[in-house]
């Protein structure tokens, strides 16, 4: 009997393959032999020190596999190295060995669990994640204390590396687990725990390995009864022991998908143009360095929306100027030969960002968000602008765009802050990009009637159709009960879009669309017909849309 289980998509993909059950705690295996050996503190000290050394070596080797584009991976590995090499952990472990006559692995385990307890006592989501990192490093060190002659990576993963390429089922995986697997042996990950935001999920996405997390039902099953599974992240599901019909229909789905991909590939390297020869550049919406590969693979002509929120969420303090600079610079270094539009911080009261003091709001979507928030948290805004401007030196043509603008005075104020930051940088002789334009998001309806005044301040607008639609149709897009009204094919909304584009043109504003209707098969042709200059979308949609436009 086949069995369907639902989870959450953490990295996209569709695959059918054998199951490999990955279990932790391999270091338990040889533990018992210590019980029969005599206690010798100098021998235990040596075991411990060797284990630290071998663990550090392992991570050093792992680190050398990556280049500067893998900054996230290298950062995670370096944090782990400093935790392994920590003097306090060493000292306390050695004290337990030498003064309390404890075996090295007992001593080390006790010290680590002490730190784990201290970490878990702190109310801080960032440090809670660090507990998992502690487990990761201590598993490796414990393994080497017990098996000084073996190789941790080989030992843990050898079973997998000897088997056919498989889909890995596990409770949860640490970053080292993921980096340690031989990539050619892994078809996908299915985890009963985990979250799409974990370090491990980020790694799975950047390595393009399909991954489903939070498949809780797995924990209640006797997995030994199952041999293979279908992992389909588009439906956020797995099918264990699929029957012939299920496999067949899945394979058809995959081959259709692959066929389309192949057809689309022929549009790579071409300009996007209609039959009449009208050029409609297609851009990518990105969230950071992890999207660089996808932008290149899908041949985006420019970056129409670089969202910067990702850096600011799920942490208790804002990212420093250095951290932001490094991130923006990485993106600009790889994509800076294309035009890039970066959007300044666009968050509000609905997002978890404890370091921003927003009063509780009845309706955060109509509250202090986007530029409204940045003009209240000026230091936060200035830090971001400084980081962007410093990095702009790596970009030939940069647009900086303010979100959620509703008045001209907001634009003036934001520009004033921008100019202050720019002057400060110029005075300290810091190089910035030669071509930098300022623009705004067109997402608050009333802005449409003052585009003339807007054009006195900025050179481009980008229509954020997701929010614009929700504000102009009084319709929460997430509300399932509103489905019939909440279609962007609404005639009134379409006429409104036409009005915006006409007003923009009349006032020489460059106008793009970066909301999800930019790749909507029915609306996209309409957008082109009313004169939108360019469209920006998730990179995976670009080739499909380019193919459609070639038929218009």
């Amino acid at each position: 009997m086949s069995l369907k289980i639902i989870g959450q998509k953490a990295a996209p993909g569709m695959v059918h393959g054998p199951i490999f059950i990955f279990k932790k705690g391999n270091s338990e295996i040889n533990r018992s032999h210590h019980l029969f050996s005599d206690f010798d503190p100098s021998k235990e000290t040596l075991l411990f020190e060797k284990a630290l050394y071998k663990s550090l070596q392992d991570l050093e080797n792992l680190k050398n596999k990556f280049t500067s584009i893998d900054k996230e991976k290298i950062d995670i590995i370096e944090v782990h190295q400093s935790l392994i090499d920590d003097p306090e952990v060493k000292e306390q472990t050695l004290a337990k060995i030498n003064h309390e006559n404890k075996f090295a692995y007992v001593a080390y385990e006790e010290v680590i669990s002490l730190f784990k307890n201290m970490f878990s006592e702190i109310e801080d989501s960032y440090l809670k994640q660090r507990v998992l990192d502690l487990e990761d490093i201590s598993n490796r060190v414990l393994f080497y204390i017990i098996n000084p002659e073996l190789n941790f990576s080989y030992f843990s993963y050898s079973q997998l590396n000897d088997s056919r390429p498989s889909i890995i089922i596990s409770e949860d995986l640490t970053p080292s687990d993921i980096l340690g697997f031989e990539k050619t042996k892994v078809l996908g990950f299915v985890l009963s725990k985990g979250s799409p935001q974990s370090h491990s999920s980020i790694l799975a996405r950047s390595m393009e390995i399909p991954c489903l997390v939070g498949a809780h039902e797995l924990e209640t099953l006797d997995l030994s009864k199952y041999t293979d599974l279908i992992l389909d992240t588009e439906n956020s599901e797995v099918i264990l022991n699929p029957n012939i019909n299920e496999v067949k229909s899945f394979e058809e789905k995959v081959s259709l998908f692959k066929f389309k991909q192949k057809q689309l590939f022929s549009f790579k390297g071409k300009k996007t143009e209609t039959k009449m020869g009208k050029l409609v550049p297609l851009g990518a919406n990105i969230s950071g360095p992890l999207d660089i590969d996808s932008v290149i693979k899908n041949d985006a002509e420019f970056i129409g929306l670089y969202r910067t929120e990702f850096l600011f969420l799920d942490r208790i303090t804002p990212p420093s100027e250095e951290e932001q600079y490094e991130t923006y610079r990485t993106v600009f270094q790889y994509l800076g030969h294309k035009r890039i539009i970066i959007r300044t911080l666009d968050i509000g009261g609905d997002k978890e960002a404890p370091y921003i003091r927003i009063q509780k709001e009845e309706n955060p979507f109509l509250g202090v968000r986007g530029i409204r928030l940045c003009l209240k948290e000026i230091e936060l805004f200035k830090t971001q602008l400084r980081a962007i401007l410093r990095a702009s030196n790596f970009c030939n043509d940069l647009g900086i765009m303010f979100p959620m603008v509703s008045t001209i005075s907001e634009i003036k104020e934001a520009k004033k802050i921008f100019n202050t930051v720019k002057t400060e940088l110029e005075q300290s002789k810091i190089q910035i990009g030669k071509k930098i334009n300022i623009g705004v998001m067109m997402e608050v309806p009333s802005l449409a009637w003052i585009l003339k005044e807007v054009s006195d301040e900025v050179t481009f607008i980008s229509i954020g159709t997701n929010d614009l639609f929700q504000y102009s149709n009084a319709c929460d897009r997430m509300n399932n009960q509103l489905q019939t009204i909440s279609s962007p094919t609404h005639e009134g909304f379409q006429r409104f879009l036409k009005f915006i584009v006409q007003e923009a043109k009349k006032n020489q504003l460059h106008v793009g669309v970066c909301g999800s209707i930019a790749h909507h098969p029915e609306i996209m042709p309409y957008l082109i017909s009313i004169g939108v200059d360019e469209l920006s979308m998730t990179a995976q949609n670009i080739l499909t849309v380019r193919a459609q436009i070639a038929d218009l």
Partner: protein, 86 residues
């Protein structure tokens, strides 16, 4: 000798800044400690520093004892003032 300092950088004493502080502290012979919220930890240990849960604007005491104590305190104070960038 000791010195009171306010942590200025926005992310407080998270993994990377804690690592930087520990690295600088390790370059001195003196015993160096950080005191925060009635807890005292070894400044040479990034792991211990992280357990303090220090966020922006926290006031900490840096305490050093040894032959190069004065220099150590100066170096660490500069590091904090420079937001942990070296």
């Amino acid at each position: 000798m000791e010195m009171k300092k306010t942590i200025l950088n926005p992310e407080g004493l998270h993994a990377r800044p804690a690592g930087q502080l520990a690295k600088v502290a390790t370059s001195f012979k003196s015993k160096i400690e950080v005191i925060f919220n009635q807890k005292t930890v070894n400044a040479k240990s990034a792991m211990s520093l992280m357990t303090l849960g220090i966020i922006q604007s926290s006031e900490v005491i840096i305490k050093a004892d040894g032959p190069d104590a004065e220099e150590a305190i100066q170096k660490i104070a500069t590091l904090i003032d420079n937001h942990f960038s070296v």
